[in-house]
């Protein structure tokens, strides 16, 4: 089965045992994203330690419904991004997006992506790329809002 390139062991593990799942307080911003083709949804919160690129991502919490790919992807995101600076986290996000949209022709950088390299096979299934990206897009959006909200709040 070609399918094993899609459903890597790591993905199935994260799917069955998601990390960081559940919505938590405190949070700087919360967003709700939907995949209009399949109806999958995610609610995602971020808590940052400040407003600049050097600020820490203190927590990412999430809930929602979705397929194994989207669920595992949120779990990996949690593992990877919490504890990084905002700048680093967005850089990893960007690398992940490039991998996903690369149609299987982009070589993943394991140093940057760690467990997320397991998603390399998803890039060959265009219909699933959106599943893998759902939480990452939500993270980017929430982070922008959190930074904006806090910056806006500074006198």
């Amino acid at each position: 089965m070609q399918m094993e390139s899609l459903y890597q062991e790591i993905i199935l593990d994260h799917y069955k045992h998601p990390h960081g799942r559940g919505l938590r307080d405190p949070f700087g911003a919360e967003v709700h994203h939907v995949n209009p083709t399949c109806g999958d949804e995610i609610t995602l919160r971020v808590q940052l330690g400040g407003t600049d690129a050097e600020a820490k991502v203190e927590d990412v919490s999430y809930d929602g419904q979705g397929c194994s790919i989207s669920q595992a992807s949120a779990s990996v995101l949690y593992e990877l991004l919490v504890g990084k600076t905002v700048g680093e986290a967005l850089a990893v996000s960007e690398e992940f997006r490039t991998l996903m949209q690369g149609r299987g022709k982009v070589e993943p950088d394991e140093d940057v992506l760690e467990d997320a390299v397991a998603f390399a096979g998803v890039a060959k299934y265009p219909a699933r790329v959106k599943c893998a990206l759902l939480s990452w897009m939500a993270f980017k959006d929430a982070t922008a809002q959190a930074v904006g909200a806090e910056t806006g709040g500074t006198p």
Partner: protein
Amino acid sequence: MTATAARPSALDVEAIRADFPILSRTVRDGRKLVYLDSGATSQKPRQVLDAEREFYEQHNAAVHRGAHQLAEEATDLYEGARATVAAFIGAQFDEIVFTKNATEGINLVAYSLGNAATAGPEAARFAVGPGDEIVVTEMEHHANLLPWQQLCQRTGATLRWFGLTDDGRLDLSDVDSVITGRAKVVALTHQSNALGTINPLEVISARAHAVGALVVLDACQSVPHMPVDVMSTGADFVAFSGHKMLGPTGVGVLWGRRELLAAMPPFLTGGSMIEVVRMEGSTFAPPPMRFEAGVPNIAQAVGLGAAVDYLDAVGMEKVHAHERALTAYALDGLATVDGLRIIGPPTNEARGGAVSFTVDGIHPHDVGQVLDDLGVAVRVGHHCAWPVMRRYAVPATTRATFYLYNSTDDIDALVAGVEQAKRFFS
């Protein structure tokens, strides 16, 4: 599974399959293609492709416009397709409007009604405004829901709807309070693409007509699969798509009662739908031309005519019987899968060959992926009927749909594939 179920009908499926080139291709790792997604779009027989190609290679010209021989031939072929489609659904020739898909057909009706308020006295009876009601159902495809939501938004009318019962039927317990004297339009589907349900039209159209409302029927999933005589549906308008009935993409049909089409204002405007044009204002041709602005989808209409000829030659009664047998066989087969829940009528009563289901603990997307890997093409998601998913509290379903070229082998592959998905994700 009984012996009769295994040989579902008098259709010679092998001979039919030989007409569909795509059915002999393989997918993924050289798997035989098992196409169970005809509810989204059907495959096309050689005869349809040949008709389109012959049109382009021998007769291509703009219709209704030229005085030269090609234009005459193209016009004859295009209008011939109209006659073929009309006969197929028991309609008059000039009641058939070619659209690009069923979605456009339904939008046409909604926009024409919306335009009626400013289109002069003859059209005033069609006008929709505040206080008026548009009635739909909770099982509508987005194509028969959003145009009405939008019409309400534009005009101030109110949208109302029939809810659904737990087993996938319209809740008709209180028809008279859903369709009130304020109803201007009742729009519903003949057969649900998400649930498979076939709706009882008589009770609804009787009530609709009693209060003077127009009935708009979405026949996307009925005309391709069973004999439909528009006059006996009780509907005033019927819309369907060519691509779901062996025809090309890019063509649909709107049927409307002659006296209604003749009085309604136009929707799309431009060339070929006019009577007299002045800078100061214009008048319009009678239907069907009034509703076909611009150079139409000529080759596609011709292709659809060939598709109708193909279905006619097979016989719609036989197509229907074949699909009923396949559906029974599928319901039986899927019932053997532990943790599988049918979303929609669980029995073969008043239902067509769209079988939606969920599998405990596995997301439909993942079920679909495993099936795809095995060569079985199904659809996953909300099937453009998102409110149905909400109603049954599922994120999405996996849906298998059948057509004349499917056999019980295809359904065996489906059932085996679902079992495999369960093993994979257990």
